[in-house]
Symmetry: D2
Subunit: 366 residues, 4 copies
């Protein structure tokens, strides 16, 4: 089935494998008149590139984006925008070993179960390189949101046991932390923790938080295409994510109704909420306050420790995964989460435009 597309009115279709010729995306439904350049897209891709810090693989992946269609004289034309990042080195190597066993925590076994065989070079379609396409498309979504004064910021909330102190949270810190933590004190501690676990040939998980400011109220559909439902799908579709929560999320299960409800009040003619446990979404629609959500990211499954698994001859074996792998996925995934949120918001903003007849009449009045 065709599961490589996302969105209804603002739709992306991605393609490409880690060790094929490249990865890419077609963005369909981008409105005409948006200024876009390869240089702009590249700034987003650079945030997920490996080798940006010592906490990511030192592999050389100079991901250079090329726009093949849909942009004319610097502006989008309203037609599909095709973007491609060619794989610069056809990483050949010897994959005969990896082809014959199933790596724990990877999709090797499930791919073989589904398709009967798999592209065994690297992760194939389930490689982290697939997220290049999401980020390239996400950059376009971010530009649309920016033009509407809506701003999306994701950052590392925790790495293993180290969590940010909200008293120290400052979005301006994000780009100063090599692991994109908005609390530089926690960042330093987390870096130490990472160095320690890297030395042990182990890997680490963490939590990414994302905040959206400036979202108008009433966006999201009321039953299945709820804003939070579509955000959850988008975020859970990122490879290593195993949990999603909106607002206070799982905490809501442990507190009482009078604590959890966000009281409304007017101050200076502006509607506000005393708290934001709802994370800016009620009944599947934005309520005009900050949207807040979190994604739990598992530790990198590829580790250089001995692991038990099976091979395709139905034998129990021991393996040691070689190569240079990220000790943690979280920092490079921050821009991926940001992208998935942006892509979803644009689609829901677009879908929302036909909610009221008076607005449609105004749109088409002659």
């Amino acid at each position: 089935m065709a599961g490589s597309s996302l969105g209804t009115m603002f739709k992306i279709s991605t393609w490409g494998e880690s060790h094929g010729k490249g990865v890419g995306v077609v963005v369909d439904g981008c409105p005409a008149g948006l200024p876009i350049s390869e240089a702009y897209i590249q700034t987003y891709l650079n945030r997920r590139k490996p080798g940006q810090s010592k906490y990511s693989t030192p592999r050389k992946e100079d991901d250079h984006v090329e726009i093949l269609s849909g942009v004319f004289e610097g502006y989008t034309t309203g037609t599909p925008i095709s973007m491609v990042v060619m794989n610069q080195t056809q990483r050949s190597g010897d994959y005969s070993e990896i082809a014959n066993y199933y790596r724990p925590g990877h999709a090797d076994y499930t791919f073989d179960s589904k398709y009967g065989f798999r592209d065994y070079r690297g992760g194939g379609r389930s490689s982290g390189r697939e997220t290049i396409a999401r980020v390239a498309a996400g950059a376009i979504a971010m530009a649309i949101l920016d033009s509407l004064n809506i701003h999306v910021n994701a950052y590392t909330q925790s790495i293993g046991p180290i969590t940010i102190d909200r008293a120290n949270l400052n979005l301006e810190n994000i780009m100063q932390s090599p692991i994109y933590m908005p609390d530089l004190e926690a960042s330093a501690k987390a870096e130490n923790f990472l160095v320690e676990k890297m030395a042990e040939c182990n890997s680490v998980g963490g939590i990414i938080e994302c905040v959206v400011k400036g979202m108008p109220a009433g966006v999201g559909e009321t039953v299945f295409d709820k804003l939070d439902a579509n955000l959850s799908k988008a975020i859970m579709s990122v490879g290593a994510v195993k949990g999603v929560e909106i607002g206070n999320g799982f905490e809501c299960a442990t507190i009482l109704g009078d604590e959890n409800n966000d009281a409304l009040y007017y101050e200076d003619n502006t509607l506000s909420k005393e708290t934001n446990h709802a994370g800016g979404i009620l009944g599947g629609m934005s309520d005009g306050t900050d949207i807040v959500l979190r994604a739990a990211v598992k530790p990198t499954p590829s580790i250089a420790r001995t692991q038990h698994t099976v091979n395709k001859s139905n034998e129990n074996i021991e393996i040691n995964i070689k190569g240079r792998h990220d000790p943690i996925i979280v920092p490079r995934a921050v821009v991926v989460i940001e992208s998935m949120v942006a892509l979803t918001l644009v689609d829901m903003l677009f879908q929302n435009m036909t909610s009221r007849l008076d607005k449609i009449q105004e749109f088409y009045k002659k």
Copy 2:
């Protein structure tokens, strides 16, 4: 936008408001040849009906389902199955008060923001009664899964601070607990906790866990329509859910790679896993082991305590919500979560049938 449909190959479209003429669902894409009766659907609806225990509203809602199409001589025909539950009492009442203010934790304000006005009688489209349609459709999905030897069981994992002890977890306990907890000791404690909070006119949240047994490996699509992504959307689309996790979920963020990876092994020619942190899903596809997921459910927002909010004249006011409301949503939502999981699994099982050319050739061989 049309956000009241879910699914691609097995699709449901729901309609209806809490205080309108009724609620219903059209199930499109149900295969021909499935035995279905109103009595069977009713057994599922009865599990979400109010008044089943003292922990739910004593409101009388005798939800009787009627099948209007798609079933002939006891079997589905392959055409759309329309089911309706008429609202038996057109609850009139005086809604002038509720029409003028925004209840905290409810979708009143967001509805008005989106549509310019709202059906202010009860929750309208965002009422819990909307889930009747999900459960009626879910019952059909469960029957399909049953015919494929796939079994879905949801239950209450925790209520407020009271959580089941996995040593006591027994699926056969579920129907013996008035709050659907599979650990009867925890159930008794949770009931005491509920009684206490009800006396304080407060409400309580909790967590629902769902386990799927018998799922074949390789089901789910590899990028956006991942099995876990679509499950997350389906579950987060249920009104009061604020968090979703697969397998160990948020716990994965705090443990190390060698702890989190599930080692594979063969025993008696059967592939097994030493652990199931992945919750039965890798790379967005089922791995043949139990699928495990959890949903965080917020406390009922309607409470009989004084709350601060605003009215439509932009004034700050105090309100006391009257009426008979559930002190907790969790028990009645158990069958809703089960339904959303079942609906998603059927859709993904159907989508998966075109993954391999050899299987398609076999299907169409003459």
Copy 3:
């Protein structure tokens, strides 16, 4: 597969069989604020009811529509509108004969091939009664178009060999002709032809033309969701239609480029075209002039003449179809074609609203 839904932003899902409990439709994506009543919908349904003239079956089908959701205090709320027409007489009869053979020109054999069995009472899902749902939904689409000053008119262009003379074409004649022909002279001739063929127990086909006035330019998507492509699908999905053409349609295949091109010119600052061979659509988008299209409708397949066919025991047999069948489908299908056009136009108008960034910015400006 779920093939009973149509539309992306304005979506309908239909259900029901000719001899089941009823037929109905869920309209999802109707904007809030549209005044709608059962009486209004009924005026459209009455146009397709049988027994309106001597050229349709005298069967009594008093199709009374009921709105079950989505309308509050006379206005649409933005939530799904569920409409149902119950079958008033559960027509029992003896279907054992029809159950055992395949009627020529009907979907009996294909239904059995697809589903393994069929609801053999009447046409089941492929009955003309299925179009009730299309017309009820179409009435809502017409109300939206009306509010935008867009007007859709369909009429009978030809019946068998009798075609209207365009010199006599007057839309005001349509409702005065029992067969909805806008040229009353041709209508009289066609009525005579029909009477003659009815006496011979035969049936007749014809062509329905549809004209849309007031459509803004630029509506339609540029590649697959072209306005003409989606109109063709909508129209060809009506049971008895075997051909669709836009503008001069098949005639374009026989004339030369300089004849076929529509020259543009300005007169009194208004852009006009010397001809309209394109039928108001260029490159899949409306050009601001009248949209013109035609549907070829086959003769009613149920005729009271001896026909050759086969039964389910693989025997060659002769049959005589009893019962009261329309001698011609065309007049009752006029409002169905009008509905399919209206449904498509609304969906495309809605999809078009995100074509330009400046318009989106204006929509969301705070």
Copy 4:
């Protein structure tokens, strides 16, 4: 809106403009295990390349396809297949003139109406080069159909007033006729007609017919996603097509019921039909006999004759379109129609696989 995708289970998304960097397509939902090569795809593209005969533009467009993903060791992997044809010469030229006026019969005016501006170099997205993407994807669909013993053949039925004589129709003639006519006598006449009209700087239309052999019965969905409805959309979405008909099409409007019905009979235990006016489709489902359909293709709108039109300064002007344009679109469109039919058939075959529970149970039996 995102109108550049087609299909549900077998989905294509196209991109690219005539004078941009290239055109391409992502095929999502192709099953794993299909042998595919660039050389194979190229054979289809070569059939639509210009310069294959003196009846097409002598422009040099050496369309070379490259497969970027989804194929591993010669077989499809089940993941998206991305194919690209780069535009070899960045045709610069001076477009200032064409940028300022609207060519009759082209989408210039409608593009500007929709998007506010357009890529004025050549036809942009509405250029015939967009069909390259359809044909590359269609080649994959043809390979799938071939593996199921289903065969699709399109050919030129008529050019201007010259129509094939069905007595002379031989599919083996198609590739021997430079204009793909299966009746070589008619082909010679049509060539003379073309030469004559080319000398007059005019252009010519025609009709393409397509026949599908080997289609199993029961494929197609019963209401909106009827096989003929989806075929009509696919074919009408091809730029120059203005009419579509199934079986006898518009002829059905002029004949009587007893003539139009196709009588069924058994001969040698094989079900047959005395005629095939239905074109192999009844009730929207294939009936197991040949599927027959036709598309009316308009004359090339670009002609070197003086034409009246308007410019963007609202002035009436005269133009002469320069450049080397095809005098007829039909022959190069034959493989495009074949592709659109193949793409639709594969999607409908895939959707059909969940029609019966017993077949689903067999598919998933352990």
